[in-house]
């Protein structure tokens, strides 16, 4: 099977998965207590007004009619209207999406930059102080809860030292870049970076710690294999043995974890986003749950699901590319 057939097949499978996600998310509404009408209609509204509100929201229809309405709407890119704000859910969600993606990518980049060199040092200087430092760091990193770390960073760095801003960033990446390109104004990018550092570190710490451990154990594993001996024996210098051979082979499983983790970052940054009042999907979902704004909740969950599926396909394709033993099937 060629690479393209492989990707096409995975895409079709992905569509099935997304359909499953949509169905589940839709049914979720009927399994959750709390009637949206209570939140939308005025507190003192009579039965008549409440019926009217329910009809406006489309809640008076039978469930299957609502389901197919929703499904066909989705296919056309329509996620319904927010119950609370009279705007299309899709425009609200997509306005929040960039902030979440930026945060997830920034956290991943932070993680890669710190974790892989740390893991390599740790593996190649086993039982030396550098190794102990790296393994202790990763143990602490894995066992630190995100929300606590975020609050501590805000207290220490923002409040205590007064260096970085605490929350509510004023500018996104794209406007910041536009500002730089069209007006040659660097201020936007600086503000963007200043607001990004603490959330990215908070979100990336667990991730960094995990990859340090994976890199360390993976490299030790690979270093013990006999091809390393054979490669050294043919005269290949240690730098190349380490990076071209050993690290490269170590990265194959790590890339899978990285990809899966990026998926969870998009959905799982909820707590970090909330701590930093980050204008992303996480805060949007929490606020929407508070007021039972179902179109927003459903739409956000579906967007996260789609993100997961796309990242998974990309990781599979990359994995097959890196590991010649895996063929595209």
């Amino acid at each position: 099977m060629s690479q393209y057939q492989f990707i096409l097949r995975r895409l079709l499978q992905g569509i099935l998965v997304i359909w499953g996600v949509v169905t589940l998310v839709f049914l979720l509404r009927y399994m959750t207590p709390g009637n949206p009408v209570d939140f939308v209609a005025p507190l003192d509204a009579g039965q008549e007004t409440r019926d009217q509100v329910a009809a406006d929201l489309g809640l008076d229809q039978p469930v299957y009619v609502q389901y197919f309405d929703y499904l066909f709407g989705l296919i056309q890119g329509d996620m319904g209207y927010s119950f609370i704000r009279s705007q299309p859910a899709s425009s609200i969600i997509f306005a929040r999406l960039p902030a979440t993606i930026e945060l997830a990518l920034a956290a991943t980049i932070v993680a890669i930059i710190f974790s892989i060199p740390l893991g390599v040092i740790s593996a190649t200087r086993r039982h030396e102080p550098a190794d102990y430092a790296a393994t202790s760091f990763s143990l602490v990193g894995i066992s630190t809860p995100n929300f606590w770390l975020g609050i501590m960073l805000i207290l220490l760095v923002s409040v205590g030292l007064g260096i970085l801003p605490t929350s509510r960033r004023p500018i996104g990446f794209v406007p910041a870049m536009e500002m730089f390109i069209f007006q040659l104004e660097i201020q936007g990018i600086r503000t963007w970076i200043a607001h990004m550092i603490l959330p990215a570190v908070t979100l990336g710490t667990y991730f960094t710690a995990m990859i340090v451990r994976l890199t360390r154990s993976g490299m030790l594993d690979e270093l013990g294999k006999s091809y390393v001996l054979a490669t050294r024996a043919k005269g290949v210098p240690e730098t190349l043995v380490r990076y071209k051979h050993v690290l490269r082979n170590t990265m194959i499983p790590i890339i899978t974890v990285l990809g899966l983790q990026l998926g969870t970052l998009i959905g799982g940054a909820v707590i970090t986003e909330f701590v930093f009042n980050w204008p992303g999907l996480g805060t949007l979902i929490i606020n929407a749950i508070d007021v039972r704004d179902w179109p927003i909740i459903q739409g956000s969950l579906i967007v996260i699901g789609v993100g997961f599926v796309i990242i998974n396909i990309a990781v599979d394709a990359l994995y097959a590319k890196l590991n010649p033993k895996v063929s595209y099937e």
Partner: protein
């Protein structure tokens, strides 16, 4: 007698493990003549592989060469080293253990090359075979670009992490060049791989075992080494393929005149390939000599036992003749100062409680054995009583033995 390309004197390699020090190779001496095929035979865990790795400086932590010298005789190399490391040079040969690590490592692939037991795990599974051979070619090409330098030529800026990072992005910075790739294809052709241009682009898992061992030999020949160390080259292969690979080695040896250090536990392979033989037991060479010396007129009861344990195909007797007992523990604190084979030896005498030196034995001048029987004859009167060593055979033996074998990397 200056035609010994490799002389090992009193080499000791130990592994410092948590359970104690393992003497994998102990006070080992051997001389390998230029162009010879020298066989090292022994059971698993006798220290054959560690000896080979000591020569290549491939002994991994916690192992370390603790004593001895390894003399390598190559005029060009001696001249190069003389200036910077005068005390390493003696009588036209260089003691490798006196050189800094980086200079020693520069010899890998060009002076000594190695092929391993299991070709499938000795290639990097995620690179093509051609790429890996070309890499070996390229390393040697670069090393020889400046033959005057004794510095670690393999650790220069050529090999920095930065350059590696660039090479993954820019094709022009690729480590493996077109020329080295072409040479890799030539090498593959030389070892008899059909369709080498196409096979070069295949991955190790697409090769059969025999083909892969051929490719491994091609890779080892990339730097035109003086000495090829073959560590159990045929053990992982089918019998029919074994013969082909041995023929190939013999052929290449004849063509290039290189020296082969052949490590094996298979006496048939030794008989077929070698001019000289060293028999190893418990980290020592217990008997050495020409093939005829060792096979036709063995002195050491261990050698006799090894030869006696070859199954007799004519089947006059229904039973095999294994050597009774097990390889001894190599833990320093458990080794006694006696002949290490005495507890399994059918001819153990009182003398054997003292560790034997190497005695000259009858036959060619190369024949020597670490056994008192080379000097005296066996007499019942001095024999040790039966069961003399059995008190020492406590259950701890079993445990320590596996540890010692791990150290040997068999």
């Amino acid at each position: 007698m200056h035609d010994e390309i490799l002389t090992i004197d009193n080499l000791s390699t130990k592994f410092f493990t948590e359970n104690g020090t393992v003497r994998a190779v102990n006070d080992l001496s051997l001389r390998v003549g230029r162009g010879d095929v020298f066989g090292i035979v022994g059971e698993s865990g006798s220290g054959k592989s560690v000896t080979a790795r000591s020569v290549m400086d491939l002994v991994d932590s916690p192992g370390r060469i603790t004593d001895g010298s390894i003399w390598y005789r190559n005029e060009e190399f001696t001249d190069r080293v003389r200036e910077d490391h005068p005390n390493a040079v003696e009588d036209g040969a260089v003691d490798l253990l006196e050189l800094p690590e980086s200079t020693r490592h520069g010899l890998r692939g060009s002076a000594f090359s190695m092929i391993f037991q299991d070709p499938a795990s000795s290639f990097n599974a995620s690179l093509t075979v051609g790429e890996q051979i070309a890499e070996a070619v390229e390393v040697q090409r670069r090393a020889h670009a400046n033959p005057r330098s004794t510095r670690a030529r393999t650790s220069g800026s050529n090999y920095s992490l930065k350059n590696y990072a660039l090479s993954t992005v820019f094709p022009s910075k690729r480590f493996v060049t077109r020329a080295s790739r072409d040479r890799a294809i030539e090498l593959l052709e030389m070892v008899g791989i059909p369709d080498p241009v196409q096979r070069a682009d295949e991955y190790p898992h697409e090769y059969s075992g025999g083909m892969l061992q051929r490719a491994m030999i091609a890779q080892a020949l990339a730097g035109e080494p003086d000495v090829l160390i073959a560590d159990e080259p045929t053990t992982a292969l089918d019998v029919t393929i074994q013969a082909q690979v041995l023929d190939l080695l013999a052929e290449l040896q004849e063509e290039t005149g290189m020296t082969i250090l052949l490590i094996t536990h298979n006496l048939g392979v030794v008989a077929r390939m070698c001019d000289r033989v060293g028999v190893m037991y418990a980290g020592e060479i217990v008997e050495r000599g020409t093939l005829e010396d060792v096979f036709d007129d063995p002195v050491h009861p261990y050698t006799q036992g090894l030869l006696g344990s070859i199954p007799d195909l004519e089947g006059r007797e229904g039973r095999l003749h294994p050597i009774a007992g097990n390889v001894p523990s190599l833990f320093e604190h458990e080794m006694e100062h006696r002949c290490h084979f005495a507890d399994r030896c059918p001819k153990a005498m009182e003398e054997c409680l003292e560790h034997p030196p190497e005695f000259d034995a009858r036959g060619s001048p190369h024949h020597a054995a670490r056994c008192y029987l080379a000097e005296t004859t066996y007499s019942e009167a001095k024999a040790l009583p039966e069961g003399y060593f059995s008190e020492a055979d406590d259950p701890a033996m079993e445990q320590t033995e596996t540890a010692a074998t791990d150290g040997g990397g068999e």
